[in-house]
């Protein structure tokens, strides 16, 4: 029956459609990592993947000051049959408080329960019982901080009591955990954050947070690359990392004048998870950069090849001198060098992760707070501000604030390479052309509150040629802050300042707003 055959064929084709293996999203490694010699490069990648995992299987590395989100639970029932310890009954919520009281005090809330949440892939840490500390599980522990590789496979909530249910693991536990053992399931914010990031952020900022998603090429300015750990608009000192609040503020308010929209209507938990995920991504990127930078000097492909050559020559000489037993080959020299690198790597990782941890620890951040309240916005204050403006800001932002100061036509020197950029104009740390803000439009990217402007002036903008002006206006800190407020007052006034008689003349004569008069936003 020809018709039937045809039908089966077409239906089979249709059935293929959803059946295909989906490609997984992956982290892209830094270009510098790819430039390392192969073995060292892969060691770094391995290290990175071990500490942070992949987008699908993110690892909540507890050393990093990220709030991964924790569910505390207690085993209430284990199947008699030891071999089936994939699955046991647990209860979430009230337990384990005794041990962790100290840590939890600041929340002052009951421990959250997972509810209907999909826990698959999250890590489980035993807090009491045989498995406490995770030492007995193979590969479950490194440096006392690395999470267990023991992962949750599924969680099914009981119908009647949401806090209890069946938890199944991906690995077998032999012997099974005892009843009453307490544990924590860590990382739900990370996985929730990743989901949200994939839906809202990824197509611009990229899976790895490198600001190179598919949409990025159409955007001006380009989306931020988080990997160097630099964030432009923060309330803290220029050298510090931003607080969670700063990141939240940017996500909520958007960045006017760019394609970063406002995500005001995200729920609180969504917002929190995204912020944690972005922080985590940024740490991963910076960690990679830091590791590579340490190794780059010796193990960059070309450098390494040269080093091998010269070491080989030395070795051969030594061999002939008799100071060396074996005749070295290129291979053996390479192995030697790489071994050194591999031996160093854990130390480097330890050291750099400590640096990173300190940088992102809240206690190490200093929020910029003006010493004096805002000077009243009077004509005198603005006039003082104008003088400061012309003397300090006009070179970039232009005497009339249109962002057309002469620096725009000068060739800037790249900080790192000490070479001039091939194009005139200003460049940011990501190597992209950047324009001084046109202050006549009344659009302030970092926020339009006085405190925002104050901080921009006081601490500059991280990663851009906008320098900090703290202490520049007066030696006395208080007076300096007061002068800064004068300047802020003047900047607020710029959109409303008359542009001189001539500029808008013919335009106003014909009753129309020209492009260059203060825009009506």
């Amino acid at each position: 029956m020809r018709v039937l055959q045809l039908l089966i064929l077409t239906l089979a084709f249709a059935a293929c459609l959803p059946g295909c293996d989906p490609p997984e999203s992956t982290f892209v490694y830094n270009t510098k990592t790819e430039e390392l010699t192969r073995d060292v490069g892969s060691a770094v990648k391995e290290r990175l993947d071990g500490d942070f995992g992949s987008p699908k299987n993110s690892v909540a590395w507890l050393r990093m000051p990220v709030d991964y989100g924790t569910f505390k639970g207690e085993v209430v029932e284990v199947d008699e049959d030891a071999s089936s310890a994939y699955q046991f009954r647990v209860k979430f919520g009230s337990n384990g408080d005794e041990e962790t009281d100290g840590e939890d005090e600041e929340d002052g809330q009951a421990s959250p329960t997972p509810g209907e949440m999909n826990l698959a892939g999250l890590a489980i840490i035993w807090k009491s019982g045989d498995y406490a500390g995770g030492s007995q599980i193979d590969g479950g522990k490194r440096d006392g901080e690395k999470l267990a590789t023991l992962q949750v496979a599924a969680w099914s909530k009981d119908e009647e009591n949401g806090e209890e249910g069946l938890l199944s693991l991906r690995q077998l536990m032999d012997p099974p955990p005892a009843v009453g053992d307490t544990f924590e399931i860590v990382g739900h914010k990370l996985s929730f954050g990743r989901q949200l990031y994939a839906a809202h952020c990824q197509h611009c900022h990229g899976t790895s947070g490198d600001g190179a998603g598919p949409t990025a090429e159409y955007l001006n300015p380009r989306p931020r690359d988080y990997r160097p750990g630099k964030f432009k608009f923060q309330s803290t000192l220029k050298t510090n990392r931003p607080t969670d609040g700063d990141l939240q503020r940017i996500i909520k308010k958007g960045i006017p004048g760019t394609y970063m929209p406002s995500f005001l209507l995200l729920e609180d938990d969504e917002m929190d998870s995204i912020v944690q995920y972005v922080k985590w991504l940024s740490m991963r990127g910076e960690y990679e950069i830091k590791l590579v930078t340490q190794l780059y000097f010796d193990y960059e492909k070309v450098v390494f090849d040269e080093a091998v050559e010269s070491a080989l020559e030395d070795g051969l000489e030594e061999f002939e001198d008799g100071t060396r037993d074996e005749k070295p080959t290129k291979r053996s020299i390479q192995d030697e060098l790489i071994e050194t690198a591999n031996a160093d790597l854990p130390d480097i990782a330890e050291q750099e992760s400590n640096v990173l941890k300190d940088a992102w620890t809240k206690e190490n951040m200093t929020v910029v707070v003006p010493l004096v309240a805002r000077t009243p916005d009077t004509a005198e204050s603005r006039a003082r501000g104008r003088v400061l403006y012309v003397q300090n800001c006009a070179a970039c932002h232009g005497a009339t604030g249109r962002g057309d100061g002469e620096q725009v036509n000068a060739y800037m020197v790249n900080d790192q390479t000490r070479e001039k950029y091939p194009e005139p104009g200003l460049f940011d740390d990501w190597g992209q052309s950047i324009k001084p803000r046109n202050l006549t439009r009344g659009i302030y990217r970092g926020g339009r509150r006085p405190i925002d402007l104050f901080r921009r002036v006081f601490e500059g903008i991280n990663g851009t040629p906008m320098p900090p002006f703290k202490g520049k206006f007066d030696n006395d800190k208080k007076i300096n802050d007061a002068r800064t407020w004068d300047l802020v007052n003047y900047i607020y006034h710029i959109p409303f300042e008359s542009r001189g008689k001539s500029a808008g003349d013919s335009a106003t004569k014909h009753g129309r707003t020209a492009a260059s008069t203060p825009s009506t936003r």
């Binding site: 005198e380 006039a383 003082r384 104008r386 003088v387 012309v390 003397q391 006009a394 232009g398 005497a399 009339t400 249109r402 057309d404 100061g405 002469e406 036509n409 000068a410 060739y411 001039k420 091939p422 005139p424 542009r499 001189g500 008689k501 001539s502 500029a503 808008g504 003349d505 013919s506 335009a507 004569k509 014909h510 009753g511 129309r512 020209a514 492009a515 260059s516």
Partner: protein, 331 residues
């Protein structure tokens, strides 16, 4: 409704050849094409708060348009004569009159290009027109920069920043000999003039302050002080002064006078759109006639339909112009 008829007519349809019917239909589509343009023009013009009408703004030569109207009408008449001659089998005469038509259409395009030249030389081109003083000033600085860059490129100096350029220039002046030296000196002087103007334009303060002096004035600024703003008049005078300067001879030909034309871009857009597409139709018509003219003495009765149809087309082209002329030139 009659459901049956015993014997049918022999020929259905209109008593004209298919080609002519096709041509009429084609002209129908063409009418809609130009209706869209004319409609858009009217909507834009009525919707715009103003429109440049002064000759010094638009550089429209009504006389040229009027002559062109006459030229086209005359050529249309010659087509009719040529068609008549074809009907009378007087192929020589037909050829001759078609040649007149062809010549007149050439004349039409000539006058048109004269008009276009007048606009292009004053830079009355869409998106080139400054619509207010500030844009006019900026345009002058931009054009001066272009002149400097072009001159640099011509002299083979690919400097980077302007400052670098000037240093290179100074160095080059030292090395070069003869005629080129004066060129380079002039360029160097011109370059510094440009830098000064652009700095003033950016800062929007009067040209009377030399830029070096301005720098110190700016440092010494006290609250309440204001520098005088740059005026269009100032720029005009400045440009005039530069032009009068012997050493820059020729360098300014490419810098246009600052002349803001409010709504000039919209005007130029519609003007070039409508006259441009009309000119395109004229060229197509010329090709149609050219094919006949290429027959020379071999022209025969077989071309009669061709000439009739191209004649129809030509009348249409004429008619469009008769609409365009008052709309663009007179109103």
């Amino acid at each position: 409704m009659s459901h049956e008829s015993p014997a049918p007519a022999l020929k259905m349809g209109l008593p004209i050849p298919n080609s002519k019917l096709g041509m009429w239909l084609f002209l129908g589509t063409e009418i809609m094409f130009f209706t869209a343009f004319i409609g858009a023009y009217l909507v834009l013009r009525i919707g715009s708060p103003g429109w440049p009408t002064k000759v010094e703004d638009t550089h429209i030569v009504v006389e040229a348009g009027a002559i062109n109207t006459f030229v086209l009408i005359l050529s249309s008449y010659f087509v009719v004569v040529a068609h008549e001659a074809m009907g009378a089998k007087n192929f020589q005469k037909a050829w001759k009159f078609l040649a007149f038509t062809f010549g007149l259409s050439c004349l039409f395009l000539g006058i048109k290009s004269y008009e276009y030249y007048g606009k292009i030389s004053h830079d009355i081109l869409p998106s080139h027109i400054a619509e207010n003083d500030e844009q006019a000033i900026n345009k002058v600085t931009r054009e001066m920069e272009d002149v400097v860059n072009a001159e640099m490129a011509r002299l083979g100096m690919e400097g980077k920043a302007l400052e670098d350029k000037r240093t290179a220039l100074q160095a080059a002046i030292g090395e070069q000999k003869g005629g080129k030296l004066s060129q380079l000196q002039a360029l160097a002087a011109f370059d510094s003039e440009f830098v000064e103007l652009s700095r003033h334009a950016r800062d929007n303060v009067a040209l009377s302050i030399p830029s070096a002096e301005f720098e110190s004035q700016r440092k010494a600024l006290t609250p309440g002080d204001k520098l005088q703003p740059l005026t269009l008049h100032g720029v005009e005078e400045y440009l005039k002064k530069l032009r009068a300067d012997k050493q820059f001879a020729g360098l300014f030909s490419e810098v246009h006078d600052p002349h803001p034309v409010p709504y000039g871009n919209l005007f130029a857009s519609t003007y070039f759109l409508m006259t441009g597409f009309h000119a395109l139709h004229v060229i197509i018509g010329m090709i149609l006639f050219g094919m006949v003219l290429m027959q020379g003495s071999k022209l025969d009765a077989g071309w009669s339909d061709w000439i009739e149809n191209s004649g129809l087309y030509w009348h249409f082209v004429d008619l469009v112009w008769i609409f365009l002329f008052p709309l663009l030139y007179i109103v």
